[in-house]
């Protein structure tokens, strides 16, 4: 009897952790998604560079998060602000299977880091980027992550960010925003009038978005961290549905608005719309209804188009739309939880308190990411330097920074 109960518990844990691990693999697969989106939406002469950055931030992120990042995020809480650092993941973190959680959280950390590369693409020194990546996965992301998922002060307040609209995506987006603002726009982007600098392959970009969409079925449902028992599996199933509906609504919305504003339905913006819908639903995918998910997707699609326009008006050059997709949509999606959560949301009679906490969390984490990003990028700028020389930018980072070109057709 005893024995059977243990066995059953073991099996439940096995199922839960197996799901977490499979989801981790799917989230890891978002890395090529990001790489393809960022490569496709930028110019061919910088493709090797952007690919390299994507490989590097995942590798450095995986190493650093294991070395120290994980413990800062999930270690014993110190004053609600930070986890107890612990080198090389040597302690125990009280999960059924610590390593499963480590790998799952590692791929999340790498997601936050990789978002930045898109925003600062086509002009950032490779060395500078590695440094930024290093500090983001080792310190900046884990600290704010601790506030929400590691038992820190925001979790105490009841801030709800299920899979990381704010913790992961907005943090990446805000860091990208300071980064691109400090580095300045690409050459020729805002000479007098705004100039379009179209990406070199929408095929590759579209492939990336599809890959991300797929990976998100690990990102969101995997964050349930369990799959056994009717409650868990129903939750997971429902998260699949809300995630997919929000992405669909984001795509369709961005398409329609681009159609109205620019006279033609734009693939580029529809792709971003899909991503905006995915980012926005991430915070509340577990607590909103399918209908609520559609609303979140619609709002995200709208946010996307006007966010992109706004940044352009401010002459902030974000080549792949990372700031809007991850920063703005992540924030909007997190706040919408306060309205649309079926339990506690304002629209469902839950009053304004949840909305308040959600907003507070979004603002607090934005403040953290923006100020830390400011320090980080200023520091890099005044030490190793942030931006490649004019000639390198004009003729392509690939040749000068890597001595390689992505496309070779003359041999």
């Amino acid at each position: 009897m005893e024995d059977i109960t243990t066995k059953i518990t073991d099996i439940s844990v096995s199922i839960d952790m197996l799901w977490v691990l499979i989801a981790a693999a799917m989230v890891m697969f978002m890395q090529p998604g990001f790489a393809m989106v960022e490569a496709g939406f930028t110019r061919a002469k910088n493709t090797a560079n952007i690919l390299m950055k994507n490989f590097l931030d995942f590798s450095v992120g995986s190493l650093m998060f294991w070395v120290v990042g994980f413990s800062i995020m999930f270690g014993t809480d110190l004053g609600g602000f930070i986890g107890m650092p612990d080198l090389f993941f040597s302690g125990s973190y009280g999960n059924d299977v610590d390593y499963a959680i480590l790998i799952f959280q590692t791929v999340f950390a790498a997601t936050a880091a990789t978002i930045v590369s898109g925003a600062v693409a086509e002009r950032t020194e490779f060395k500078a980027y590695i440094l930024a990546s290093f500090f983001i996965t080792a310190v900046i992301y884990p600290v704010s992550g601790h506030w929400v998922w590691g038992g820190g002060w925001l979790s105490e307040l009841g801030f709800h960010d299920f899979a990381g609209s704010t913790v992961v995506h907005s943090v990446g987006g805000w860091l990208g925003l300071v980064g691109t603002a400090i580095i300045g726009p690409r050459l020729g982007k805002y000479n007098g009038k705004r100039k379009a600098i179209p990406g070199h392959s929408l095929t590759i970009g579209a492939l990336g978005v599809f890959i991300l969409w797929f990976g998100w079925f690990g990102f969101n449902p995997g964050s349930q961290l369990a799959a056994s028992g009717l409650d868990n599996i129903s939750a997971v199933a429902s998260i699949f549905v809300t995630t997919n509906l929000s992405a669909s609504a984001g795509t369709v919305t961005a398409m329609i608005i681009s159609w109205i504003r620019y006279k033609r339905p734009s693939l580029g913006l529809s792709l971003n719309g899909a991503l905006a819908g995915l980012v926005a639903i991430t915070a509340g995918c577990d607590v909103v209804s399918p209908g609520g998910a559609v609303i979140i997707g619609i709002v995200a699609g709208i946010t996307l188009i006007f966010g992109v326009e706004m940044l352009d008006t401010l002459k902030i050059d974000d080549p792949v739309g990372a700031v809007t997709v991850h920063g703005f949509s992540g924030a909007v999606g997190t706040i919408l939880v306060g309205l649309l959560a079926t339990e506690g949301g304002l629209f469902y009679g839950g009053g304004a308190s949840m909305l308040g906490v959600q907003t507070l969390g979004v603002v607090a984490i934005a403040a953290w990411a923006l100020s830390m990003g400011f320090i980080l990028f200023r520091a890099i700028k005044s030490t190793v330097g942030l931006r490649v020389p004019r000639r390198v930018e004009e003729e392509g980072l690939d040749v000068y920074e890597h001595g390689e070109t992505a496309y070779n057709n003359f041999s």
Binding site: A196, G199, R264, G268, L269, G321
Partner: protein, 118 residues
């Protein structure tokens, strides 16, 4: 010897190639170019509208002996025409000298294969 440079529609390439073959023009080079012309369409990338008068076309470069000039031009004119705007252009340039790398032959000789033609 003259060089004929023709800019034609991509969709007409097969027809032109066949027409050239029919008048005995078996050797030429071609590549993709973009033609700027009157037919403007607006494009937009991420919300920024940019003009796109550029359409993909194919450029042929054919060096012929003087006696083949007329034929060749006529062949292209007929096979590349649709009558709608954008059919393209043909330009003629003088060639001072020509060499066949394989044999070192020069002049007219370098432009046809001996034994196959008078």
């Amino acid at each position: 010897m003259k060089k004929i440079e023709a800019i034609i529609r991509k969709t007409k390439f097969d027809d032109v190639k066949e027409a050239l073959g029919n008048v005995g023009i078996d050797f030429f080079s071609y590549w993709e170019v973009r033609g700027v012309g009157r037919s403007r369409e607006e494009r937009a990338f991420r919300g920024i509208v940019y003009d796109t008068s550029s359409i993909e076309r194919i450029k042929l470069s054919i060096v012929v002996r003087d006696k083949n000039l007329k034929n060749t031009i006529n062949a292209i004119m007929e096979s590349a025409r649709t009558g709608a705007i954008g059919d393209g252009k043909i330009f003629v340039v003088d060639i001072e000298e020509s060499y066949r790398i394989r044999t070192g032959e020069t002049g007219n000789e370098s432009l046809y294969i001996k034994g196959e033609e008078e």
